[in-house]
C-alpha cells in the first residue's frame, strides 16, 4: 500500500519519528505488562508518606499505597482511555470528513452544520457537566471525550479531501468509471494517512491529559487508578505540603514525556510524508 520498504521502515529511519515510536513503545510495554506485574498490590497499604526506599522505589502515598505499583497499574488505564478515544475519534472523524469533503452538497451541509454545533460548544465546561451527570466510569470518560474530539478531526480531513479531489488523478479515476467509495478508499485514503496518524497520536495524548484534568476536578471514575487520579489524590491530600515529590513526579513526568514524544513523532511524520509527496 505504501512503498517497497513499508511505512514502519520509513518511520524507523526518521530520527524524530523513531524517538516518538520508542516513547510510545516504552509506555505501551509499561501499560500492558505493568497492569499485571507490579511489586505490591496497588491497593495494599504500608507506612504512609514514605520517601523512596529500596522496598518502595517511588515511596508511598497518604494511605501508604506503593506509588510504583500504582504507577505501573495506572499507566495501562490511562493508555487504554487515550487509545480508545483516539481510535473512536479517528474512525468517526475520518469517515465523516471524507464523505463530507468528497460528496459535498447536501451531505456536506448536514454533517458540517452538526460539526459546527459540536465545535462551538466550549469543550471543557461541557466535559465537566457531562462527567458530573453520567455514571463515573472510565468508559463514560471515553465516550464523552470521543464525542467531543471527532468534530475537529473531521474538519481537518474534510479540508484535505477538498483539495485532493481537484487533483487530476482523481479526475482520471472518475473518467475511468471508478465509483465514489472506491475512489475514497483507493485514491484518497493513502494521502490522508499522515494526517490520520498525527491526529491519532495527538488525540491519544489529548485524551490522557483531558482525563487527568477531569480527575483533577474530581470527575470521572475516582476509584480507578490512573495518572489522573494519582495526581488528583496527590493534590487533595496535600502532597505538596508533605513535600511528597515522589508521589507527584511519576504521573506528572509521564504525561509530559508522552506529550513531548507525540509532538516529536508528529514532526517526524510530517517530514516523512512531506518528502514523499514532494518526490511524487
Amino acid at each position: 500500500m505504501f512503498s517497497e520498504s513499508g511505512i514502519l521502515h520509513e518511520i524507523w529511519s526518521n530520527g524524530k519519528a523513531r524517538f516518538g515510536m520508542i516513547v510510545f513503545i516504552i509506555f505501551a510495554i509499561i501499560g500492558i505488562f505493568g497492569h499485571f506485574i507490579y511489586p505490591y498490590s496497588p491497593k495494599a497499604t504500608f507506612v504512609i508518606w514514605q520517601p523512596p526506599t529500596f522496598a518502595h522505589v517511588f515511596g508511598t502515598d497518604y494511605e501508604g499505597h506503593d506509588v510504583l505499583s500504582q504507577f505501573l497499574y495506572g499507566t495501562g488505564v490511562s493508555l487504554y482511555v487515550g487509545a480508545s478515544v483516539a481510535l473512536i475519534s479517528v474512525a468517526i472523524g475520518t469517515m465523516v470528513g471524507m464523505l463530507s469533503g468528497y460528496y459535498g452538497g447536501i451531505v456536506d451541509n448536514i454533517f458540517m452544520r452538526f460539526v459546527d454545533i459540536l465545535l462551538i460548544m466550549p469543550t471543557f465546561p461541557l466535559l465537566v457537566i457531562l462527567a458530573a451527570y453520567l455514571p463515573p466510569t472510565n468508559n463514560t470518560t471515553i465516550l464523552i471525550l470521543s464525542l467531543l474530539s471527532w468534530p475537529f478531526m473531521s474538519r481537518v480531513i474534510r479540508s484535505q479531501v477538498l483539495t485532493l479531489k481537484e487533483r487530476p488523478f482523481i479526475k482520471a479515476a472518475v473518467i475511468s468509471g471508478m465509483k465514489g467509495f472506491t475512489i475514497i478508499r483507493k485514491e484518497i485514503l493513502d494521502h490522508l494517512m499522515p494526517l490520520i496518524i498525527i491526529n491519532a497520536v495527538y488525540l491519544l495524548v489529548g485524551a490522557i491529559v483531558a482525563q487527568a484534568g477531569l480527575a483533577f476536578f474530581g470527575l470521572g471514575d475516582l476509584t480507578s487508578i490512573n495518572w489522573g487520579t494519582m495526581l488528583y489524590y496527590a493534590q487533595s491530600e496535600d502532597a505538596i505540603v508533605y513535600a511528597a515529590w515522589w508521589w507527584i513526579l511519576p504521573p506528572g513526568i509521564a504525561i509530559a514525556i508522552i506529550g513531548i514524544g507525540a509532538n516529536i513523532f508528529g514532526n517526524g511524520i510530517t517530514e516523512i510524508f512531506g518528502k514523499r509527496s514532494g518526490g511524487a
Binding site: F2, E4, F169, A172, I175, K186, E187, D190
Partner: protein
Amino acid sequence: MTVEAVDTNTYELNDDRSIVVIDKATVIFKSGHVRNYALDSVSLKIRRGEAVGIVGESGSGKTTLGLAVLKILRLNAGRIFFDGMDISRLRSKKLALFRSKTQMIFQDPYSSLNPYNTIFESVATPVFSNISRLESELQRKVTKREIRSMVSETLEKVGLSPGSAFLDVYPRKLSGGQRQRVAVARALIMHPKLVVADEPTSMLDVSITAQVANLLKSLQKEMDFSLMYISHELSTSRYISNRIAVMCLGRVVELGTSEDITKSPMHPYTDILIRSMPEVSSSGINDSIAKIDFNAYNGGIKGCVFAHSCPRKTEICTSEKPLLQEMGNDHEVACFHPIIA
C-alpha cells in the same frame, strides 16, 4: 461566393458519422456577480476515428470543452451527445458504459498519476472499474494474472518495454515522458472510442514531446479511436489532427482541416495566432499576438470576441455576433470579414 450561416434547425444531432455532437454548449463560471462564459454556445462534431485539434490561448475554454464532453463539468445550457445519447441524462449503467468508452490524458503527468499507486494499479483502474461488464462479455471470471498481462501488453504498446518490469514500480521512479506514456496506457487499455488529450505534451521536453505526439498519432490510427487533441500550440496540433477548431474566449471562431487552418486561415485571430508562433529559423519573435481584454468579457460579448484587437474590424463586429459559416471544403469561420486569399 454565397455565405450562409449554419442553420441550427438543420444541425443534425443524430449524425451517424459523428461520435460526439456538441450542440450550443455553454458553461458559465460565476465569481461574485461576474459571469464568465467559459464556453459560449459552442457547436462542434467529432467524427468517428477522427482527430480534432482544439487550439486556443489560455482562457479560451478549450479544457472546459474537453471536461464538458467527458461529463466532468455540467453545462449551463446546450447539449452534448455521445454515440447518439445525451450525456447529461446518463445514469448508473449507461453512465458506466459511457465512462468505459471515454478517456482523458492530462497535461501534467506528475499529478495525473496517484503517487501511492503502482503503475499496475493506475493503468488497471479502468479495467477494475468495468470488471463486471468485461466478465459478462467474456462469460467467465477474469483473473488478476490476466489483468496483469493485459496491463503489461498495453505498456509495451505505448513503448514501455518490457511491460512487466514497470508493473510494480511507483510513479516517482519514472521520468516525465515515461509517466505520460503510463497515462496514455491507462487511457487506452479498455479500447475507448473517444480520448480527450489535454495538452499532453506541454509539460514535456521538446524531444519527448515529439515521441509522445508520434505515439498518440500512431495509436490513434491503429486503435481507431476519436481524439480530441487540446493544445495551445498549432504545430503539434496540425501534425496530429485531421481537423482543427480554433477557440477564442469560449467560442469556436474557425473550424477546418489542419491544412486549411494553418495554410490559409480565414479568421484574423487564427492568422495572428499563426504569425505569432516563434520560428526557430527567424531571429526574433513576432509579439503582435492579440491582446485580449478579459475585462471586456463579462456577461457575454455582444459582437465578435476578437473585435477590439482585430485589424479588419468594422461597426458590425461589435454589434452583432458572427456565426460559423461554411466557406467550402469543410472550412467554417465566424467572421464578418474573413480573409479570403
